[in-house]
């Protein structure tokens, strides 16, 4: 390394701390606001040191909320996020297995069909997709929230790449030992894909949890709202003053699960992020 001593190092540290302070500022303010009373907030400037109303605000958010209590929205978000994550991983690993380890008519056609979904994000086809889901009677249901989002070209590619790096000798050995395709998949391929599945799980969980537009469209019944879209419903339209302490408590709760996942599974998260973009 070059010139790593003295004033330069301190300047670098100072710069990084400044950058982190800038990035963390909105979260800090949100956290502080979630511990203050409404009266503390309506007269600017608001204090930047936490107050004593945290329990009151968080319990109001959790058990009263706006249209639906936040605990229910958290449950809905969790079901949706896990459903999307597990669904994507399962159907992707199965189709990647078929495409890599079998030769069958229309194999490449299926491959390209899956690939093309990359070009069709939900934002591009919202109205017709909504019509399909409404036509199937899936509005305000977990199935309607989850199923349209479980196709995944990215995850399929990832598993395909992984399978292609697995030596052919393994398949030969398995066949000599009398293992069929199902047995090979369960006993050899799945254990070998463990870390990739875990890394993908972290990324997809965040993706699923943070969905906004789709839940906004398919859940008109407040008891089916997810938390990320539910916060918006807590903001008043027009000139009413929002109950900011409760809104900010809800925002903190909405961030908590995905942030915990990133912080505590950081290495898997980085691995998943880098690999899913290759």
């Amino acid at each position: 390394m070059v010139e790593r001593r003295g004033i330069g190092t301190w300047l670098t540290h100072a710069g990084l701390i400044l950058g982190i302070a800038l990035i963390c500022f909105p979260i800090w303010v949100a956290f502080v606001a979630s511990t203050l009373s409404q009266a503390d907030l309506v007269r600017p400037p608001m204090p930047l040191i936490p107050g004593g109303h945290a329990i009151a605000n968080y319990s109001e958010a959790l058990f009263t909320g706006a249209n639906a209590p936040v605990w229910l929205m958290l449950v809905n978000s969790m079901v949706m996020a896990l459903g999307i994550t597990i669904g994507k991983i399962v159907i992707s690993i199965l189709s990647a297995y078929a495409i890599v380890y079998f030769r069958f008519p229309f194999r490449m056609l299926f491959f390209w069909l899956i690939f093309l979904t990359l070009m069709l994000p939900v934002e591009v086809r919202i109205v017709p997709t909504y019509e399909v889901v409404a036509g199937l009677g899936l509005l305000n249901s977990y199935t309607g929230l989850i199923l349209p989002l479980v196709a995944s070209a990215t995850a399929t590619f990832l598993f395909r790449q992984l399978f292609l790096t697995i030596p052919d000798e393994l398949v030969e050995a398995a066949r000599v030992d009398g293992a069929g395709p199902v047995r090979f998949f369960i006993d050899i391929l799945l254990p070998m894909s463990r870390t990739n599945i875990a890394a993908l799980f972290v990324i997809l969980f965040i993706y699923g949890w943070n969905q906004y537009l789709w839940p906004l469209l398919v859940t008109t019944d407040p008891s089916m709202n997810t938390i990320v879209m539910g916060i918006k419903q807590m903001l008043p339209t027009g000139d009413d003053v929002a109950k900011w302490p409760v809104v900010m408590a809800t925002a903190m709760l909405a961030m908590l699960p995905p942030v915990l996942v990133v912080v505590f599974m950081q290495n898997l998260f980085v691995k998943g992020l880098v690999e899913s973009e290759k």
Binding site: M1, P26, I27, L116, T117, E172, P181, I231, A254, E277
Partner: protein, 294 residues
């Protein structure tokens, strides 16, 4: 690349791809085909029958000043988000790359905003810039600057750009840091021995070697700004004031669901479809190149 050794089964592979293909057919291709089909019709005001208009919806769309304005808004918005987010992230990554002790802590503190949903990011920044109670708008008022993004289009754009860029910094930081760490230190040391200063080394050696990462992030950030920022716009401005923050994705939503203008919304979907396809092709072309670079 293909496998030499494969399994034989007549029905198993179909069974394995069936779930994925069913979902893509029902929720991706059928709706996309519907969008293309609907884009050639205008429903009558009662929704009873439709009239074929060919490319009429598209002609109407591109003749519409609001729609053309939405293109400009999207372009301005994406460029600002991309440049702001990437330059801040590069600055942070360049510093983090120089740190040996404590780099793990810095990384942890810098990557977690990735986990914050765009809609939640929108709410956080809305709170900071709330014209009546927000702490930043209060601070600006102390310097005699009035902040009201509900009335001022430029301020509304600034706010959605800041909120969107903020959320994306972590992602860019991670990729820039990985790119910087992949540059062989010997090259930089050689330049240092020849007497090149830190900035000279950065611009003549590090930045060019980083260009594959930079190009890759450019495409990813533009896609992000185009499609994933819906939550930010919807929570902060709802496209206003006077459509000053109505990006294309927001307009499809507003025209299709709020305005119930299905023909136009379908035509807009088709335009977006073409845009995504182009961006995806560029992304893949580029990733091929990245492999060649190593």
């Amino acid at each position: 690349m293909e496998k030499r050794v494969v399994f034989n089964s007549r029905w198993l592979p179909y069974l394995l791809v069936a779930p994925q293909v069913a979902v893509t057919a029902i929720f991706f291709f059928w709706p996309a085909a519907q969008a293309i089909y609907q884009s050639a019709f205008i429903p009558d005001p009662f929704g009873l029958k439709t009239q074929f208009v060919g490319f009429g919806n598209f002609e109407y769309l591109f003749g519409n000043a609001f729609y053309r304005q939405s293109f400009v808004t999207t372009a301005v918005f994406s460029v600002l988000v991309t440049v702001l987010s990437m330059s801040f992230a590069l600055w942070l990554a360049a510093m983090a790359d120089r740190i040996i002790k404590g780099s793990g802590i810095y990384r942890t503190l810098l990557i977690w905003p990735y986990a914050v949903a765009p809609a939640v990011a929108g709410v956080l920044w809305l709170f900071l810039f709330n014209p009546f109670t927000g702490i930043i708008s209060w601070l600006l008022a102390q310097y005699g600057y009035t902040w009201n993004h509900g009335l001022n289009g430029g301020q509304a754009m600034t706010l959605v750009v800041i909120a969107s860029a903020w959320k994306q910094i972590s992602y860019n930081f991670l990729f820039f840091l990985a790119g910087l760490q992949a540059i062989p230190k010997s090259v930089i040391e050689a330049a240092a021995i020849d007497g090149a200063s830190f900035w000279k080394r950065f611009w003549t050696i590090v930045f060019p070697l980083l260009s594959p990462t930079t190009f890759f992030l450019l495409v990813v950030n533009i896609i992000y700004a185009f499609f994933d920022t819906f939550g930010v716009i919807h929570t902060i401005t709802q496209g206003g004031p006077q459509q000053s923050t109505t990006i294309l994705v927001y307009k499809v939503f507003a025209d299709g669901f709020v305005g119930q203008d299905l023909g136009s919304s379908a035509a807009q979907s088709v335009v977006l479809l073409v845009l995504v396809s182009l961006l995806t092709v560029i992304q893949f072309k580029f990733i091929e190149r990245r492999v060649h670079y190593g």
